[in-house]
Subunit: 237 residues, 8 copies
């Protein structure tokens, strides 16, 4: 046990007043560091990002960043803002080094903001990404027209609101892990995404696991871990 | 208004102590009368059925009838018991006189009891019925193999538990009304059928309406009304 | 199976960047095409509508369209805006060709927006529509005064918030299919329409099926399918 | 304040080991004392009842008493057992001394156990009771046939499961207070009486208040207080 | 049955375009007529009120009326606006003619808007009203200081948010019917009044019935029916 | 940090096959060790208890132990079984060494099993315990008769089902911490203790915190920590 | 009983029109008086605070006070405003006189507003406070780095949104009472703090009790009662 | 598209009366076939298993198989029954051919049945499995003692009931994908696993996705897909 605990205790972290900056995660993931933008001022975001850059971080992802704050951050830092997914990227996207392709599929056009959060996040973590949008189960031919992409993916992220049926249908077609993201798209008895969430958790198809409502970032993070299994194996030895 | 109210007031009903026997519904539907078997003793069921037969009713359907009670009823009356759907039929099934075919589709084998309740009920009300069981969305090829039956149906009853995705997929393929029945099949976050119910209510496909969890009878009653639209038109004049 | 799958695969769809335009549904319904207006900009709506018109679509319905956006769309296209139901219609209403009358009944005056969404949608899909508004069960005489319309309808759409009791009462009076629409009208323990939704799902009257809260469009779509059963029969052969 | 507090403090109560026997309530109600039978053994019930009789109590009501326990109590005490409402009565029913009639209406036959709990309780507290059973809103003519009883009641107790619509319909017809009792009769989306409870709380009719699911006793207690307003007025002076 | 149905059918109602004006309720209650102000424009309110006045109605109550709309109504009609309860009164308050006093008790000061809606409504329907505000159970001495008013009331309306415990405590002290009104006062696990609602429905004290969350009007309407039992008896003969 | 982590890492635990026996907790609490009896066989309980005794543990508490299993355990070990709280005690109760008295109050007699679980647990952890049972708020005089015990307690555990109002009332009277335990006593809208749980979380009285439904053990554990504050202070130095 | 009731009755309270000012609580707590700022105008707050100061109160805490109202109050009274916790303090903070340290730990930076409400409240009631912020379980090393503060606390307040796991982890490490405060921080399936609330109620660690969502004040009030056990003991004699 | 659809259509399935046997899944996974045992008789299980063996399937897993049915199946087939996880295995376990180790961690001993369902399923699908049981967060040292296994896993399955905090803690320590399984272990406010489910969905740690309550099989299926990414890559080409 001594070895493990020692390694655990040694990991660095710092305090810059606003929030503790955790360099620990960067050590393990080696690629990009993330700032959760919601609830932080532009000043706080800039301060944290600068600290990260001082520590040698090349790529920084800022999530849940609205357009106005992005404008303010861009005044101080070279920010690439993606309004669809409300994301900002500082630094270059890394070369894709995952095992295969992460495919992102949405049921409707209203699910695209969550999908873009997932797709850009996956790119920031070094994954090649394929987007298939507006392929809901009410028009099955749209989905089947993308059968080759579904069969060749390493991981699939399925993003759907309303009844969330797309996760089960894709789960039945694909032979790779499916990460399902329920969205709050819908009204009435969708209860803010609850209907889609429950549907996805009860999926009759194997190989489907679920993240929180609208959590495109979390799905991409999980997909990236899966898509880098081989890389991690190597690093470990 | 006078005419309508008079007609309404005139309709007959009787009291036989246990429960008021409503001959009113038979007048309007003209085919079969129904006894809801749950919570009634075999003696009560026999008494009510006899009263109905005295009033000239040819076909009587008893729903939610367990095997033991069925045995007891059969001692007094010529009962055709269908254990799969927990239904008893007294009298002959009428000749099918609906506009087309009522197709009953289930997602899994565990949904069959609800499906049989629906299928036999539809037959009792004078409908031709086509059964397609165990065609859930995780094995889409099973469903597509039945594409011709789906395209030629007048009404489709979709029966599914767990995530209830089948309703949306069939709703997207068919061009006739779909009546969706969520079932309590599942565990954990299916919450006794709630997940399937919410999914069906939020269906992204048009032409899907929903009845209560496990309510195979209600779905068939609605399907039969739809499948007899033309007949009713004639009766009315 | 070959035949069915081929037909299914052949159906056309196109991609115009914003959203895939599905001409598939039009082929099957033959009457009108629908644009879901919520979450789309006026520019997107105009682009999609123009594409539809190029494909020969005569009548286009835009749902969930607020007044401001309607104004902007009207600058480019001949839009007939119906503020009560937040609907826009491009092109002429088709001649009613359904089997009978679709009757729309509301419990209160606050349910009228949902009712108008249903009524105009039904008209756009080729149905004759009868409106009976503000006939809730607390004033039963109002409802009974419309007994003739209830008895002569082919399909009835019942729209009610609060306790949703109107669906059961109409279901008990009518002998045609009833499509029930719970509305979010109410406060406190109505929980955004949940009380009415549950009540309608538990209706003790036969022949009642339910759509999502406030989903006037969905109810009308289902009612139209029912009211065109005969027409469809013919088309099929 | 002195007077009120003194009176409040003086009220007697005793401890007989099993449970404190509250003679306080008897002082105020003057008629009958109640033992809640669920969770008590026959021996405990007998002990408490004997203590009450020693204190001069003439009529004792035991609620939620199953048949087996009733048998055991009857070995020691002169018990009049009513299996329909699972109630036992010790001593004579008092002469009705309320202002008018308490009318008990149920939607279906399955609601009768709750209705009998209410009806007998009301009788034990000195009320004349009128029973109207199986008059649900799906058969409105049954209800209207009892219009005279509805119009002449002093208080009405409406008992209904499933969608609970009867409370609103009766509330709209009657001009006296309506106490609504949701029952757990139903399945699926009735969620153990929740659907009926929410419906009754959202009643669009005035003059409807609600008690707990299956709480026939509570409804009768409230109805009896209302029906004795005048009597209480006199006692007070 | 003929008599009852005839009387029922004869009752007048009119249509003035905006909403059917129901003179029916006025016939039965004989005192005041009510306009539900939420969702109506000032113009609609004025039109309805004028129609009522033409029909001879002396007192009109407008509920859920915000200050701005009240201003606009006052331009056309002699409106007495009560901002605390968001109520408007047209015409004089009637002389109290109920059996006794309706006492309105609140747990906190935040419950006062609902309490004022109840209190003024009760006055409009001819009841003498006693107000006891801010007497929650965390300061029991405040409540006990009002013991005399509690003991001499004919009906008590208890209004409380948060945990709603006041209903049970008052129910245990009083010997008259208690109408409990849960309010949406609270945060977090009060879930918009759900906590208080459930608590009141589960009250361990007898004689407590419940209306919808924040429904001060409904509680007062029920209390007024109770407080006029004797009067109604007379009217009926 | 070194010191703390070392102490933390050093703490002993053992594996005896069935479940790891944690001697760690005993080190910190110094008094008694607990075995959660539910889901363990009598053999497993005996094995774990023997291991604890070998480690020098003097007093062992077994919770959620039904009578049958208790009988089997008593065959091997000197067990003092308390059927009311379904608890078994091995070894002597320690001398009370807490700062003051832990008072346990229940609303009704049905809450006693949870109360006894709490009371005996508190005794096992070295607290003097005062029991006040059946003192619900519907009979406030019962509660006020125990005012001296309430005012002199160091910690009070309030145990109530149904509407759970007792927690707020006691919280308003007492000046010490109150630990509230909702129980599953009740029916219908108590939803298995949810009503009481929500009520207690929303308590308007200060100094009330809440544990899980029916968790008498957890309340007593917390109360004991509070009642030993002084002792712990000393131990620490 | 006489003594207790007399003391209870004697406690003073006054009415100043807006709200009854309760001097009762001050008598018992002896330190500070609290005004709940939400829903009160600045004028009302000033009036109440002045009344309290006339009664001799040295320190007054105003909770849920937004910046704008604070500005207005400061015009009349010497207010120390703490924007992080939305609190205002009038008068000096008392010298800490509790037994030990109240430690406040948050999972994330978004939980800080609730934490500051708790921390300042604890200081106002005479407690020494230690703050450990942003120490969520996803970075366990951050928490373990504060092991000494955790082990030496008298009471710990754990504040966490999302999954609320921090309460269990701290509960497992500490040997003093833990008061857990779920926060509404999160989105989607956090359902406004419900996820954290349920997690904390189900904590597998002993010694954890829970207050309402976002109720930093309530947690601090409870913690202060616990931290003053000894002091209260003395006062009592 | 032609190629994809053809492959999809070609996949074989058969009908053996009881349930369609899907050989499709075996083609894709290449290892084992699964029979869901719940709701099937021993005869049905034997018939399906025999059909699979005729088709050349070497290893068959039967889930949710109780001891009695297992006994009956063993009469006809060489069944290796694992009572802890209620699983039966026919045929030999395959040689592990995954990328690394699948580690299964439970919070308590009551979670072991779900864990064994997961562990044996993973073995049947060709994975090396490491079990770490009873390592809940209340005893963090137990978890940290297994730090090496956590750091070297390819995929981790975390199984926890009650508050489900273990998923977040492991998610924060590990650098591989975590599949979280909430269990129905708990009582009261665990609401059958809902508390753990919500906690896991809201996990503050990255790389955690969730399956249905008690779904050990589904977690293992997903973990196996992840652990075979490399193998699948090869197969595909």
């Amino acid at each position: 046990m001594d070895e493990a605990v020692k390694r655990f205790r040694m990991e660095p972290f710092e305090d810059i007043g606003i929030a503790r900056v955790d360099s620990h995660r960067a050590v393990r993931n080696g690629v990009a560091e993330v700032i959760y933008g919601a609830g932080k001022t532009a000043e706080q975001i800039v301060a944290i990002a600068n600290k990260m850059r001082e520590n040698g971080q090349k790529t920084i992802l800022i999530t849940r960043l609205d357009a106005e704050k992005a404008e303010a951050v861009r005044a101080s830092l070279p920010l690439d803002y993606r309004p669809d997914g409300r994301l900002g990227v500082i630094g270059r996207l890394p070369e894709p080094d995952g095992l295969g392709v992460v495919t992102v599929i949405t049921a409707g056009t209203s699910d695209i903001p969550v999908a873009e959060e997932a797709a850009v996040t996956a790119e920031v973590f070094g994954n090649r990404v394929k987007r298939i949008y507006d392929a809901g189960v009410a028009g099955l031919h749209r989905l089947l027209a993308n059968m080759d992409d579904i069969m060749s993916a390493s991981v699939i992220i399925v993003i759907a609101g309303m009844e969330g049926a797309l996760a089960s249908v894709v789960g039945g077609l694909a032979d790779c892990p499916v990460i399902a993201v329920p969205t709050s798209v819908g009204y009435g008895a969708s209860f803010g995404g609850l209907a889609a969430l429950l549907a996805m958790l009860n999926s009759c198809a194997g190989g489907v696991s679920v993240v929180n409502i609208d959590n495109g970032f979390g799905a991409a993070y999980q997909a990236s871990l899966i898509n880098h299994v081989k890389t991690r194996e190597k690093t470990r030895k």
